[in-house]
């Protein structure tokens, strides 16, 4: 499996046209839809108002200044990052064992069937899943009835409009990502390595800590990024599950674009968020590279 594509053949510059032709369309598309819009928004973040119609816009730093002057923006930014970290953590804690079982313990037709079952929820609409959680979590909802059925006279159980409700909803939405990426990494680990370690007398925990986790790290990190990044910008799940607890930097930014019409402020907050994400990636990536 390794030998065939070890080295892509080197070719002279005459092939430049072929390269441009093959990669051109994709990157032109990305330029039009990602890079140019981000640049435009970056420019907007320095304007005082939206430059459409009768509105007059001047260059200003006040949007960025607002973040540093008003404490509640910082509180909310921190809150969103904390949410991202928590959701990622729980997805790892619950998803990694699941991936390990699928990759190593379960074989044959069971494995394929279970794998399908795990990624199937991807295909149900994310919004209805979140809304269904409201029916499960609320007072006199499914969860309360279930608990009272199992433990008679438990009493009312209403988890709606709490921070945990948001976490539950988000973990539920993003768990398959972590299971998938960890599975891909774990599946590639040669079983004979594990057997060799065991036969040399290593205990299960040591094998896990020193052999499996490091080898699976690329998958874990990939899953972490796929989960952390969307979660910090989420507004839909907090609004639906969080009620008064559902205020995050994501909801504030969304507000600026759909209601308040203060696009420059929304743009500035977005780029501040982006800056923090890049900072985190810059710190984590080298550490990860050293570990693998």
């Amino acid at each position: 499996m390794q030998s065939a594509a070890a080295e892509a053949p080197r070719v002279p510059h005459g092939r430049l046209r072929a390269i441009a032709g093959l990669t051109g369309p994709a990157y032109f598309w990305l330029a039009l839809t990602i890079f140019l819009p981000l640049s435009a928004m970056f420019y907007f973040s320095f304007l005082s108002d939206v430059p459409f119609g009768k509105r007059v816009a001047v260059l200003t730093l006040e949007n960025y200044a607002a973040f540093f002057e008003k404490e509640f923006y910082r509180t909310l930014m921190l809150r969103s990052f904390r949410l991202g970290a928590e959701v990622t953590f729980y997805c790892f804690v619950f998803g990694f064992p699941c991936a390990y079982l699928l990759a190593k313990s379960i074989k044959g037709r069971w494995r394929e069937a279970l794998f399908l079952l795990v990624i199937l929820p991807f295909w149900s609409n994310a919004l209805v899943r979140i809304f269904s959680w409201t029916m499960v979590l609320r007072g006199n909802g499914v969860l309360e009835r279930l608990v009272n059925w199992l433990v008679p006279d438990y009493g009312p159980l209403n988890l709606m409009f709490t921070y945990p409700a948001i976490v539950v909803g988000l973990v539920h939405s993003y768990l398959p990502y972590m299971i998938l990426t960890c599975y891909i990494s774990l599946e590639a680990i040669d079983d004979s390595l594990i057997e060799a370690a065991r036969s040399l007398g290593a205990r299960r925990l040591a094998v896990l800590r020193r052999l499996i986790l490091p080898l699976a790290l690329p998958g874990i990190l990939a899953g972490a990024i796929l989960i952390f990044v969307p979660v910090i910008g989420s507004f839909m799940e907090p609004r639906i599950l969080g009620g008064r607890e559902g205020t995050f930097i994501g909801t504030i930014i969304e507000d600026q674009f759909t209601a308040v019409f203060n696009w420059p402020l929304g743009a500035a907050l977005s780029f501040l968020m982006l800056g923090f994400v890049l900072l985190i990636l810059l710190v984590v990536m080298p550490l990860a590279r050293r570990a693998t």
Partner: protein, 263 residues
Amino acid sequence: MIGRRNTLARAGRVYMAAVLLFLYVPIIVMVVMSFNASKLYRLPVDWSFTWYVALAGNDKLISAGLNSVWVAVVTTVIATVLGTAASLAFFRYDFRGKRLLQLLLFPPIAIPWLIIGTAMLVFFFWIGLGRGLHAMILGHVALALPYVIVVVTARLRSFDPHLEEAARSLGASPWQATRRVTLPWIAPGMVAAALFAFAVSFDQFVISYFLSSPGVSTLPVEIYTSIRKGFTPEINAASTIVILVSMALLLGVARFYRFGGER
């Protein structure tokens, strides 16, 4: 020793069952509620088909659903073609700037969709492209491209470039070599990538939310609007249908391609 292994095995099975239960509880609730005639979701369930009947007459939802499918199909075609082409380039050639280009694939994944969506809204509005299905297709393809390239590249890793060389030396033109040697080999990868692209587009909410215009939206956006402004229980019926159809599709495809890994 054996007893311990059995206990572990059993614990493993229980754990898997618990995880699956967690993943499916809302889906089961959704399916059950789609048959609950109570407008305010009162329990116990009042079994009925009323919402499915109502769904048949709900033009807004149906057109939103059709829009979703349209956008997803177009996105899949474009993203798969563009992504495969780029993957072939990375596979075949080494050139200055290759690293940079590969790095540039990260932004759609590393940037929160909220930011990408609002940036697209701002930019398209500014240059007069406006909002609507065409804008959504532009956005969805951009999101799907990295996934397509990653999947096809993974498949290309197992392809022997000398096969192409051999075909060329036998007189085939570059395109013929690609079409008759390379593409058939990576076809399973392209199908997997296409599935990924379809899933990414069909379930995409954030980008579609900012780029939809009145009367022209996709199913996820319509559902969110419904939840925020006045939930019509037909949504549960629509979603039940969607998940049943996707399940059938996924199971059908799984018969032909091994999802559990190549060996």
